[in-house]
Structures are given as C-alpha cells and as structure tokens.
C-alpha cells in the first residue's frame, strides 16, 4: 500500500524562516478530504500565530521599549548638559565677581592701613604727653580712640590675611618652634583683656609636653591669637578657658582650647570656617569681628599639614582641637655630622 500513502507537510515559518512543520500522513490518498485539509491548514496557521506571539512580539516590544529608553536617555542628557552649561557659566560669573570683590577688599584694606598707622602713631604721641600735658579726661578719650583704631587695624589685617590666603600669596617659613613659648607669649598679651572680663585662663606647661613643632612661628601665633581672643571675647563674665596639649604618636601634637562661653548654634556649625561668617549669637553680642579669624586659622593649620575641628553646644562653650606636626629629632647620624 506504499504507493497510495499521502503525506501533507505544512511549514510553520515566520518571515520566510521555517521554524517547524506539521506533517499529516494519510494511509490512502483517496481518503483525503477537503475538510481534513482545511482543518490541518487552520491548525498550522494557529500554531504559526502562537509561535509569532510567543517569540517575536515580546522581542518587538522589548526593542521598542529599548528605543524609548535610549530616546529618554538622550532627552535627559540634553537637559542635563544645558543645565550644566547654565550653571557653569553662572559659576564663572560668580567666580569673576568674587575675584573682583577680593581685589577690591585688598585695595581698600591696603589703602586703609597707611592712614590707620598714621593715626596710631599720632595718638601714641598725644597719649605719651609728647605734645603737651593732657587732662585725665582727655587722656581717657584718647586711649579709647587708640583702642578703636587698634581694632580697626586688626580688622584690616584680617581682611588682607584672608585675601592673601585666597590668592595663594602667603609664604611660609617653617622652622623648629617651641610650642609652649608661643602659647605663653599670646596668653601674656591677652591677660589684660581676660582680666577685664574676669575670665581665667589655665595652661600649665608640663615636662611631658612635646616641646617643639615644625611650624611658621608668625602664622602659629596668629592661630593662638585668633582662637584665644575668640574664647575671651565670647566667654561669660567670670568664665574659664583651658589650653591643653596631648601628643598623638611621635609625629603630631593635639592642641585643645576649651571655653565655657556662648558656643556655636548647631545649625551654623558647618559654616563656622567660612569667610566672613559670624554666628548669629556672636553678632547679637555686638562684639567686633570680621568673620575671617577662623577661616585664617583653618588655612594656617592645614598648611602645616594639621587638622582642625571643634565640639560645641550653644551657651555651653566650645572646644577647638587642632593638630600640628612635631619637629623630628635629627637622626643619630645627622647629629654626629652636626
């Protein structure tokens, strides 16, 4: 019966690629009915449709989705770069303005310094009685003028100092500096100011204290002057200030200056080292201040390779800590050579 076998092969394909076939075998070709042929055809088409849905449609959808994502990415990128360009240009303008402002401050401060020094010199002559005898009242007023002038000079110096830091003009001359001596000198100068406010300052130099640091002595003095003046200025009447030194390993020493003054409000602590920033409670006290002292201090400490930080609570004082590199002992060989 082999000659009468009828085989119907229906290809299942997608886009002209044959993916499968449906094979119908009839033992007798005469028995092939149109109806059966149609049923087979429908079955094959349905199967083809299923394969199409299952394989192709998700791919087409995924491809479409991918294209959309790319388009989104491109739109996002365009927005991003345009905003970035606006910000960059605005930033450039701000930087230029900032530079103009800095050079303006620098010029003004320089111009102010000479006449202020002249006033200081003249007042000094008057107070010393070189220009004739003064009444007690005249003397008191002249001393007040002298003090105000001094404050102005220190303000101008701060402004120039900050400007030099920004423009990178500060030169450092590092050498071996006896730390305790620097602190003692600054404390000695501050004593009258502290006494007037009934503030006590304790610093006991211990033999265990590291003696010498690797620093620029003038800049180091400025660090202590700024921090200790602040402590005295913002202490409560009759308050106390404590200066301590703790060696950290063989390389560094940590200096701490603790007061029990007005402290720094929490929300303003992050800005305290910014230029021209003054905490609101300090401004309220109506004390003098340029808002540059801590900016200068931070810059000096960091230029020495140290770190500065603080702990504070409003009305409960502040403790500033900073580190300084210790002067390295010359090695035995170098000593011998020396």
């Amino acid at each position: 019966m082999l000659g009468s076998l009828f085989v119907l092969i229906l290809p299942l394909g997608i886009f002209f690629a044959i993916t499968a076939t449906v094979v119908l075998r009839y033992p007798d070709s005469d028995a092939l009915h149109v109806a059966a042929f149609l049923v087979a055809l429908i079955l094959a088409s349905a199967a083809q449709l299923l394969v199409f849905e299952w394989k192709i449609v998700p791919n087409v959808i995924a491809l479409e989705r991918f294209r959309e994502l790319l388009a989104d990415q491109e739109r996002g990128a365009r927005l991003l770069v345009r905003r970035d360009l606006e910000l960059t240009r605005a930033n450039d303008q701000l930087r230029k303005l900032d530079e103009t402002k800095s050079s303006f401050i620098s010029v003004v401060a320089h111009q102010l310094r000479t006449p202020l020094s002249g006033i200081k010199w003249t007042l000094n002559l008057l107070i010393n009685g070189d220009m004739g005898t003064l009444t007690a009242e005249q003397r008191t007023f002249l001393i007040k003028a002298y003090e105000s002038n001094d404050r102005m000079i220190s303000l101008v110096n701060d402004m120039l100092g900050a400007d030099r830091i920004e423009s990178g003009k500060v030169r450092y001359f590092f050498q071996s500096v006896p730390l305790s001596e620097v602190i003692d000198e600054v404390l000695f100068e501050l004593l009258p100011q502290a006494k007037a406010r009934g503030v006590s300052i304790t610093f006991a130099s211990k033999p265990t204290h590291p003696t010498k640091v690797h620093a620029d002595p003038t800049k180091l003095r400025a660090v202590f002057q700024n921090l200790l003046e602040n402590s005295v200025k913002y202490s409560q009447e009759g308050g106390s200030i404590e200066v301590s030194l703790v060696p950290r390993g063989t390389e560094e020493v940590e200096v701490s200056i603790k007061d029990d003054g007005i402290g720094i409000p929490k929300e303003q602590q992050k800005n305290i080292f910014d230029r021209f920033f003054r905490a609101t409670n300090a401004v309220k006290l109506e004390t003098d201040g340029s808002g540059l002292g801590l900016f200068i201090v931070k810059s000096i400490v960091e230029r020495h390779g140290g770190m500065i930080w603080f702990e504070s609570e409003e009305n409960r004082g502040v403790t500033f800590h900073f580190t300084l590199p210790l002067e390295r002992e010359p090695r035995a060989k170098e000593k011998a050579a020396a």
Partner: protein, 399 residues
C-alpha cells in the same frame, strides 16, 4: 645608582640670554654634571638663538625639548613667556636622543625613524622608556605614536607631549642637541636602573547615547550617524550656542564639553577636543577619530579636573613602589590651561601636594599627550600607549 634633577627658568627679551640663564639656573640647582637636558620654550623667543644660549652654557650634553603653549615648573605655570630647563643626572641610567623628520610625508614613518635611531644607540637596542615630542600640526599624532610603537613594540611605555606654539596653531618646533626642527618628532630613550611611574587622567564622563562615526579623515570628523558632526553640539546645546565652535578655535564649549571616543582595552574614553568647525559642520579635532568609532559628549568640571590631577600624580607615585620621586615631568593639555584660566596653578598645586613641593618639576602645555591608556606601565599587556587630548599626563622618575 640615582637620579638627580635641577630645574631652571628664565624670562626676558634677549632670546640667547634667556636660554643661557635658564640652563645656568638648572645646572646650579643640579650641582653636578648633567646626563641630559630637557628644554621647553615659548615661541616668543627666536628658537635658534634661545637654543644656542642654552648650549653656550651646557656644552655637548644630549638635549631634547620643544616649543610649547605654556611652560610649567615648581612655581606652577609660568605667568609670561619663559624658557624652562630640566638638567637630569642619572647615575646608572643612560639617555639616548634622536629625531624623526618630515612628519608631513608620513607621521608613522617619522615616529618609527625617531624610535629606531634612539634604539640603535642603546646597547643591544634595550630601552626601558621613551619620551617623545612630536609636531602634530604637520601630521596625525596618533600615527606618529604608532610609528614609535612599531619600532619599540606594541606594549612599550611611551610618554610625551605634542609641541605647541602659544596657541597660534601655526608652526611648532622640536629641539635635538644643537638643532631646532619643525615638522619632526624628537625622542629620548631611557635605559638602566631607574623606576618610572606614569599617571594619566582627564576627569570627564560621557553623557547621552553613543554616536557612530560614519565619515572621517584623520582628525577631521565629518559625520556622526550619517549627519554632519556639528549636529551633536547643536542637538545638545542648540544651534545658537553651538555657533561659537565655528567662530572661535578651541572654543569654551569645546573645552568644557569635549568629545569622548571609546577605545578597546580601556573603560575610560579617550578625549578628542574639537578645535575648528567648517561651514559643512565637519569638526577638526586635536587627534584622529577613525570611522566606526563610538563618540559621546563628555561632561566635567574644573573641580573634578583638579581632583583627577592629584589622582594621576598619586597613581604615578604608586608605580615607584615606595621610592621617592626624583624628577617630575608634566604633559598637560592646552585645553586644561584654557579651562582653568588664571587658576591653572591649582592643578599643578594638587600634583605637588601628592609628589612633594620640592621635587624638581618641569612640564608644558601641549597640543596632545602621549601615554599608555590608564598609565599602565607595569602590566605591559595593558600598556597600550595612545594619543590623548585634554588629559594630564604625569611622568615621575625614581631610583
């Protein structure tokens, strides 16, 4: 075995005197006899006179160098035109110098010739590093690098900077011993007991989708995805803003948002700076962009550029394996100098923070930098020396 260096700088009017003073300054600081001199000079000086000034002091010591778009020393980028000289002394290190001429006749040939002549001087042809100063106004810089690598081997660590001409883009000069060349590549080969560290960073990251280069010739990028190349800038910034690329060479927009090219063997894109744009919208870049490359717009910031300069310096230092750097050579792109403007010193300052402020340092602003991708020199298989743009390349030498 040790490397010592002294860096001299001089400024003034008389080219001969400026050259002589810079060299004397370098020799005074070296306090010894130099093995080789590296000279970078502004084109404001008569090049022959300047070089004869240097030679009047140095005598017959091997000398290499080039004209620049700005010189760099320990004091930062020089504020005015200057001549800077590094006198290098290498006890146990040999230096060999050579030149490949006529880049315009074939940059690859010139690159190979320079490397061949340097290699031929080294005993057994053994070199450990190669510093190059090509003219890229005369021909494709990437091809010059290929020529050098053809001679030295595909994974050889090559570092260098393309000569500049104070941003005029007309004619640059290369120096070898007593002679001033133009359209050439000068090379310096090092061999012996020393360590070299190379740091390579740019700090830009890609944004948007990649675009395929469908038409280009050398450094001229004609079409991206079948459209005029300028369209990439017009699409991102608008036609009005993109106009500045047509009116100004190496415009601000091009420096702040350069193009990035994907390269095999590196996750970081190679930067390509658009220099000029013609009326058809074709962009001429500072280095080749082959057809088929993927291009993306790059975005960055001055702050990040400073940060990566420090990272590059740290990377270079790390390759010295704990040894102190004895000499630093910086190849820094002119585009970065333009980007930073007055504050270009910040970048050099960041580098010095990592490498020490007193380590003798010389460098210049280039028209393209040559360095291994990512600065890999220890893993020779990944070395892949390439031609970069808007990138800072830091080369440190140690014992």
């Amino acid at each position: 075995m040790s490397i010592k260096a002294g860096v001299g700088i001089s400024q003034g009017v008389d080219s001969h005197a400026v050259g002589a003073n810079a060299c004397q300054d370098a020799l005074d600081k070296l306090e010894g006899k130099p093995s080789v001199l590296i000279v970078f000079s502004s084109i404001q000086y008569d090049q022959e006179k300047m070089l004869s000034g240097v030679r009047s002091v140095s005598g017959q010591v091997p000398l290499v160098g080039c004209s620049t778009a700005g010189e760099i020393t320990n004091e930062g980028p020089t504020k005015r035109h200057s001549v800077v000289v590094m006198a290098l002394q290498g006890d146990g290190v040999s230096f060999f110098a050579g030149v490949g001429e006529h880049i315009s006749d074939g940059p690859k040939k010139a690159g190979k010739a320079a490397a061949d002549v340097v290699k031929a001087q080294a005993p057994g042809g053994k070199l450990d590093a190669f510093i190059m100063f090509p003219d890229v106004l005369a021909g494709n810089g990437a091809d010059t690098v290929r020529g050098v690598l053809e001679s030295l081997g595909p994974d050889f660590p090559v570092v260098g900077g393309a000569a500049g001409d104070d941003f005029e883009f007309k004619k640059t000069f290369q120096y070898l011993n007593d002679k001033v060349y133009s359209g050439a590549v000068v090379g310096l080969g090092l061999s012996g007991a020393f360590k070299i560290g190379i740091g390579v960073r740019h700090g830009w990251i890609p944004v948007g989708t990649p675009k395929k280069v469908t038409k280009s010739e050398g450094a001229v990028l004609h079409e991206l995805d079948g459209m005029p190349a300028i369209k990439i800038y017009e699409d991102y910034f608008g036609a009005e803003r993109a106009k500045e690329l047509k009116t100004e060479a190496l415009a601000r927009l091009a420096i702040t948002y350069p193009l990035g090219m994907k390269v095999k063997g590196s996750d970081e894109m190679l930067i390509r700076d658009p220099i000029t744009v013609d009326e058809n919208g074709s962009i001429t870049c500072a280095a080749e962009i082959p057809v088929g490359s993927e291009i993306r717009l790059m975005i960055g910031s001055r702050e990040e550029a400073v940060n990566v300069a420090k990272v590059a310096a740290e990377n270079a230092l790390a390759e010295l394996g704990g040894e102190k750097p004895k000499a630093v050579i910086i190849f820094n792109c002119i585009a970065r100098s333009k980007l930073f403007g007055e504050r270009a010193g910040d970048e050099i300052d960041a580098i010095q923070e990592a490498l020490g402020r007193t380590t003798p340092l010389i460098g210049f602003y280039t028209y393209g930098e040559q360095a291994p991708l990512w600065g890999e020199v220890r893993n020779m298989n990944r070395c892949n020396s390439s031609f970069h743009n808007e990138t800072v390349v830091i080369c440190v030498l140690g014992d």
